[in-house]
Amino acid sequence: MSKISNTIEIRAIKKAFGQNTVLHDVSLTIQGGSVLALMGANGAGKSTLVKILSGVYSADDGEILINGKKADVSTPQSARDAGIITVHQIINDGVVQDLNVAENLLLDKLCDGRFGTYISKKALEAQAKPLAEKIGLTLPLDTQVSELSQADKQLVAIARAISDKPKLLILDEPTSSLSDTESIKLFEAVKTMRSQGVAVVYISHRMSDIRTLADNIAALREGRIVGHFEPPLDYDAAVDSMLGHAVGAVSHQYQSGEKKVLELIDVQLKPETEPFNLSFHTGEVVVLTGLLSSGCTSVVEGIFGMSPYALGQIVLDGKHWVPSNPTHAIESGVFMVQEDRGNNALIPDFSIEKNVSLPFLKRFSTFGFIDTKKEKQVVEEAIQTTKVKYLDQTELMTTLSGGNQQKAMVARWMIDDCRVLLLNEPFQGVDISSRRQIGQLLRNTATDRATIAVCTDIEEALEIADRIIVFNHNRLIGIHQIDQVHMPTLIKQIAAAPTPNNNNTTIEEVTDEKYA
């Protein structure tokens, strides 16, 4: 492969979906032979940008230049022809399980007929071999892909992607389903690509990946590039700008919890991580924060009975309690507003009314028959207190805007009283005014229950939390009281690379220090 460095320029890209502007004027320059880490919280616009670069969406405005010439990215095929190759987050989308490694590497050729009708195994392997070697893939080429580890599948997908000499390689969360040792293989492959002059955009939430690979960092937030970092890289500053450093955004009083409702005792999220204890009280709102796959989600999913902890116990209202599944959790008074409501919460064929009442049908039923009058009335009250804007509650749920759908999903869990309300990324895809309303509502209604929310975005966390608890690589590493938050420490904890042995001391340091 040639060592010619390519320069890729992204100029003033804009994209809006209806009223919602996702990208405002994004410009970036990526030099060949370097890795640019693109950081951004959920909903920052990363995936939209990737989709524009790879030809899935077309930008409303702006252009992409490769070595000074305008590149055509109007369709996925033309983006590929221009030399922009994307490897997506979901590994299984990039490989065909039932074919072997050689066939997967040459899949594009096989599909467009460049191979002819009769395919000789020898010719196939002869052509596949250099592709595999290019990124250091040392596997027998006739291995069935379904038998490979996740890392090897990922490498196969990448090797296939780069078979057409790329100029720009985009890796979207490539390590999200890889173990640490598997990731090392991938890093080697990326470094090999870099040394061959390819420009790499590396999207990840894992700070350890970014520390290993990144030459430059760009932070994307609410559709704008809010920070561009060059060596020597200041990782904390990068995380800070990506998450939005809204110091002083705390507008509410710290509310200390009253009665202890829920306790986690000696919980370990992974067998190799250190155990931690946490307790949650009525009246307080606790936010768990950390980058993607930091473990926050595992904490709340464990409490809701979705996936048990590696080790540890849960105490609910003074009694040991093992949630076996969501049904059991709900019966015990533990409710959860799910993230990604399209997949995890909405029933697309149901009206607003039926969507909201779904978990509590028993309450409106006698001998199994639903009292629709009562249902209508209770749902109406619930969606009015959460300020859902709607015309008719018998309309389909999908007719509401994102923010209103989310308000309705919160309303769903306000129908009945609960002991613990869990919320996973409750502000995902929610406009700012809806976000304020939901946050206000959560604080106003928190009196008789423990409220635990997972928010990656620090600004969101500061808006609703009484206590912020930081997780990093499945370890609890910091607890902050809202009136004593020291932002640099908080950011440092979120961005810290995993150092398995000194975590316990970190916790003590933080809780003892008084910042104000």
Binding site: P326, D349, L358, L396, R412
Partner: protein
């Protein structure tokens, strides 16, 4: 334009049904007679019961291809109990219903626990039952006086009360199977539309993950759906045995296709665009009216399957093509 389209989606099938009734009765005045109407209803009743059963599995986004053979196997079981064991009406009915429950549980186990796709599970079950029904009688039909494998002659008979289920008419007009079908249609309608169980089943069918996270007992309701479908099929089998008065090895053949067609045509009734009890019953009626009318007008029998197929395809186009609800 938009209104015309909505109107077509909502009432298209019902208008078509009314149109057929008018056309057939103009062409052949005897068509509209009470007796003929009852013949239509009677011929439709068993198919409609099967369609109602499939509706339950469709509601949870499943499918049951084994209904036809479950009905046939239940028919053979009831006949065998009566003719070979001389077991009497109650035993025959209980045995047949047990068959339906067991088939439903096995289908549920395969799809829920073993995670085999619905279509494959029930296709396998269909073959299994079609084969199994032939084994006890060495492939022969069951009737009084048949000779058994050990050389003896079967001494049992179909009891009067059993045959009553298939042949009698209430007030000398309404056949018993029609009454049973109507009762089951009402029960299914109430269950699916008015109880929380039905509501949850539709939720599972629309977004299983979301339903589960809202506390729905997904596995339980999948079992419920398959057991319902199995039991309805076996009720259909009992009525079939009672109507023809013997265990006929080939009489269940067309039940599957007609039942499924009824349930799928039901999607188009009143623009529901989803499985629904009232639609399935009307869908079955639609097929029955069509076939009866064509028969009375001396259309050759060998064109009937083709016509059924055409109606089904057209109805599906109505539902899915015109409706923008499920793009």
């Amino acid at each position: 334009m938009k209104n015309t389209r909505e109107f077509a989606i909502k009432y298209g099938l019902l208008i078509l049904l009314a149109l057929m009734l008018v056309l057939f009765s103009i062409a052949e005045p005897a068509f509209l007679s009470t007796i003929n109407m009852m013949i239509i209803l009677q011929s439709v009743s068993i198919v409609a019961i099967l369609a109602l059963g499939v509706t339950a599995t469709l509601a949870v986004d499943g499918f049951d291809l084994s209904i036809g053979s479950t009905a046939a196997f239940s028919m053979m079981t009831a006949s065998y109990v009566m003719v070979v064991f001389d077991g009497g009406t109650t035993m025959a009915i209980l045995a047949a219903i047990t068959v339906g429950v067991i088939v439903g549980l096995i289908n549920g186990f395969m799809t829920v626990q073993m995670k085999v796709p619905d279509l494959l599970t029930t296709l396998g079950m269909m073959f299994l039952l079609l084969g199994l029904q032939l084994i006890p009688t060495q492939g022969r039909s069951i009737s009084t006086g048949m000779s058994l494998a050990n050389g003896e002659t079967a001494s049992g008979t179909f009891s009067e009360s059993f045959l009553f289920l298939g042949r009698a008419r209430i007030f000398d007009i309404i056949p018993v199977p029609v009454v049973i079908m109507l009762v089951l249609a009402v029960i299914t309608y109430l269950f699916l539309e008015r109880t929380r169980h039905g509501r949850v089943m539709y939720a599972i069918g629309s977004n299983e993950q979301a339903a589960k996270l809202a506390g729905a007992r997904v596995k339980f309701y999948r079992y419920v759906a398959y057991v319902m479908s199995g039991v309805y099929a076996s009720i259909g089998g009992i009525l079939l045995a009672a109507r023809i008065g013997r265990g006929d090895v080939s009489s269940g053949n067309s039940l599957l296709m007609d039942g499924v067609a009824g349930a799928l045509i039901g999607f188009a009734v009143l623009g529901a665009a989803r499985p629904n009890a009232q639609g399935s019953a009307i869908g079955a009626l639609f097929v029955g009216v069509l076939l009866n009318g064509l028969t009375m007008m001396n259309t050759p029998y060998y064109t009937q399957d083709f016509i059924k197929g055409m109606v089904l395809v057209a109805a599906l186009m109505f539902t899915f093509g015109l409706s923008n609800k499920r793009a």
